[in-house]
């Protein structure tokens, strides 16, 4: 069927084009981060610059740079926050999926209401500042991110399918629910726990809302917020150079430093992407089919 073949060619061309549209902009940023500043100033951003240079990375990695501090903050916040969030969500998921509990449905409604009705950022801000979180690392960990009812319902939907018969023996032996949750249910729920680990992890890593609302101390800036600030405040880049040997570069590599910072922010996501994608798609499908 010649017409079908024509369609197939068209199809491959269109999808390849879409995939390119999704990749090329990031490739552009990558290339700009390696472009010599003078070349950028003369020719703008290009896919094929005349000369490459490591100036930007040199400055970011060895200058008087806030990058390490921000990386440190982002990693601490992401790891700590995600770990606590997954445990809290897993435990609550166990409770509201356990059939013999009389009040599990009322509890589920209690959580569900907050998904539908959201008082907005002003009460959120007043409660967060009221708790004294402002300008502490907890401001980046606790508000909004530490628990998400959507993830709770993902866990519940998964745990509901675990048959009671698996826990009967343990119950007869006198095991309590905490033991059953941690030793029997959690190991059986690893796929969904991996999925929510990923959801929480990405939310923490990419969050800058908490920082813009609750943090003004530069040593608490997470990476994304550093990146946000960098775009408008060139003084930050000048400061990085202040400690450097002046002869290293005559022009302040401000454009390439911005792009290099963006690339370094994406770094961990690219590294984890194969894992991310697998569990992300799984979670998306559990969520969209049942929740």
């Amino acid at each position: 069927m010649p017409r079908n073949r024509l369609f197939d060619v068209f199809n491959y061309v269109v999808i390849t084009a879409v995939a390119l549209i999704c990749t090329l902009p990031m490739l552009l940023i990558l290339i700009v981060s390696f472009t010599e500043e003078k070349v950028i100033q003369n020719n703008g951003y290009q896919f094929f610059p005349e000369t490459f240079s490591f100036d930007a990375y040199n400055l970011l990695l060895f200058g008087n740079t806030p990058l390490y501090q921000s990386y440190f903050i982002s990693i601490v916040v992401t790891v700590l926050g995600t770990a606590v969030a997954v445990v809290i969500t897993g435990m609550a998921g166990y409770t509201i999926s356990t059939r013999h509990l009389k009040y599990r449905n009322q509890l589920a409604v209690f959580f569900f209401i907050t998904m539908v009705f959201n008082p907005g950022i002003v009460p959120w801000y007043l409660v967060s500042t009221g708790m004294g979180l402002q300008n502490t690392i907890w401001a980046l960990i606790i508000p909004t991110l530490l628990f998400n009812p959507f993830n709770l319902f993902l866990v519940r939907n998964y745990m509901k399918e675990i048959p009671d018969s698996l826990t009967e023996a343990a119950r007869i032996d006198g095991a309590n629910d905490i033991y059953i949750a941690f030793r029997i249910f959690f190991p059986l729920s690893l796929p969904v726990l991996a999925t929510i680990t990923l959801f929480y992890g990405i939310a923490y890593w990419n969050n800058w809302f908490n920082a813009i609302m609750l943090v003004d101390k530069a040593n608490l800036y997470p990476l994304q917020y550093l990146l946000f600030k960098l775009n408008s405040e060139i003084s930050m880049i000048q400061q990085m150079q202040s400690m450097m040997d002046v002869s290293t570069s005559a022009v302040l590599p401000s454009e390439s430093v911005k792009m290099a910072t963006a690339i370094l922010t994406i770094g961990p996501i690219v590294l984890f992407y194969p894992f991310l994608q697998k569990y992300f798609i799984k979670g998306l499908l559990i969520g969209s089919v049942k929740g």
């Binding site: 491959y12 703008g44 209690f110 002003v122 629910d177 990146l227 994406i266 798609i281």
Partner: protein, 310 residues
């Protein structure tokens, strides 16, 4: 006599399943604080709020905060922008995702399908700050790709960051660019779930590829489309602060087409420092948002009860 019996039931239940209820405490406490204790603070919309004296010690001023907001011309502009942008995000996003899902379904090479799907999903994992850099690299007046292309074809450069008329399109495209992968994955899964015998029957009747798509795939995808759209509709009054503030920041030149309720609330709260006024706008946002969701759910229910959310 009913009351005490019930109470005893509650206590008994808690005592018998103590360890199970202990497990829910952290999440419940968290939800209580951030989901419920936040609620009374909505009342400051009717106050002249003072940080020092708090919600109990502030003066009640009725609807003054609302009056202030609605008497400015900005109220209608930001409401319009919020609805316009979200509506376009939903419609354009759905159409592109559906089109792609149908094209992907026709692919024979699984390898090609997998690799391209991963590529299209990837931007979803970027933060809006990173995306704002990408937009900047394309539309920056001095160095951006767009102006360089205009140079090469001999047209005048455009000062993008001072021309609000382009930004509806730019924001919609970047939203689709970032998030189309998700809907694509969901639609593709829904298509895979369609019973193959429908297609066999269609082929026997002599339907061509397009007719199979038109009369089998699309109608069977409609429930998924409606559910996803309804879920996005729930956020139609909420303007994705993350996205718009990362891209536009405090660039007042672009406000006419890009400023939304969320960014306006943010500025009243953080830059101007008036939480009561910000709350008044937030309350208006919540109420209109709720009415829209409730209304559209009712509409969907009337057309097809199975597709309603609640």
């Amino acid at each position: 006599m009913n009351e005490p019996k019930k109470k005893k039931g509650l206590l008994n239940e808690l005592r018998n399943n103590f360890s199970a209820y202990v497990l829910v405490i952290p999440a419940a406490l968290y939800t209580l604080i951030f989901g419920y204790i936040t609620m009374p603070y909505m009342l400051i919309a009717f106050q002249k709020f003072n940080y020092r004296t708090g919600i109990f010690g502030s003066e009640w001023i009725g609807l003054d905060n609302f009056r202030f907001f609605f008497s400015s011309s900005r109220a209608w502009q930001i409401t319009f922008n919020t609805l316009k942008l979200n509506f376009l995000f939903i419609v354009v996003g759905t159409l592109v995702a559906l089109a792609l899902a149908i094209l992907f379904n026709e692919l024979r090479s699984r390898w090609f399908s997998k690799v391209t799907q991963s590529t299209i999903l990837f931007p979803h994992f970027l933060s809006w700050v990173v995306v704002s850099y990408i937009i900047y690299s394309i539309f920056s007046t001095e160095y951006g790709l767009a102006n360089r292309m205009l140079d090469t074809i001999g047209l005048d450069r455009i000062n993008w960051y001072a021309s609000p008329e382009y930004w509806t399109a730019i924001l919609v495209s970047s939203n689709v660019w970032k998030d189309v992968g998700i809907s694509l994955v969901i639609y593709l899964a829904a298509i895979t779930g369609i019973d193959g015998s429908y297609y066999e029957a269609g082929q026997i009747d002599g339907a061509n590829r397009w007719q199979l798509v038109r009369h089998i795939t699309l109608p069977l995808l409609m429930p998924t489309v409606i559910i996803l759209s309804m879920l996005s509709l729930g956020k139609i009054m909420y303007g994705s602060f993350d996205m718009i503030y990362a891209i536009v920041k405090d660039n007042g030149l672009l406000y006419p087409t890009t400023d939304v309720i969320d960014t306006y609330v943010f500025r009243s709260l953080r830059n101007i420092g008036n939480p009561a006024q910000a709350m008044a706008i937030g309350l208006y946002q919540a109420v209109v948002g709720f009415i829209l969701v409730w209304g559209s759910n009712k509409l969907v229910r009337r057309i097809n009860p199975d597709n309603a959310l609640f």
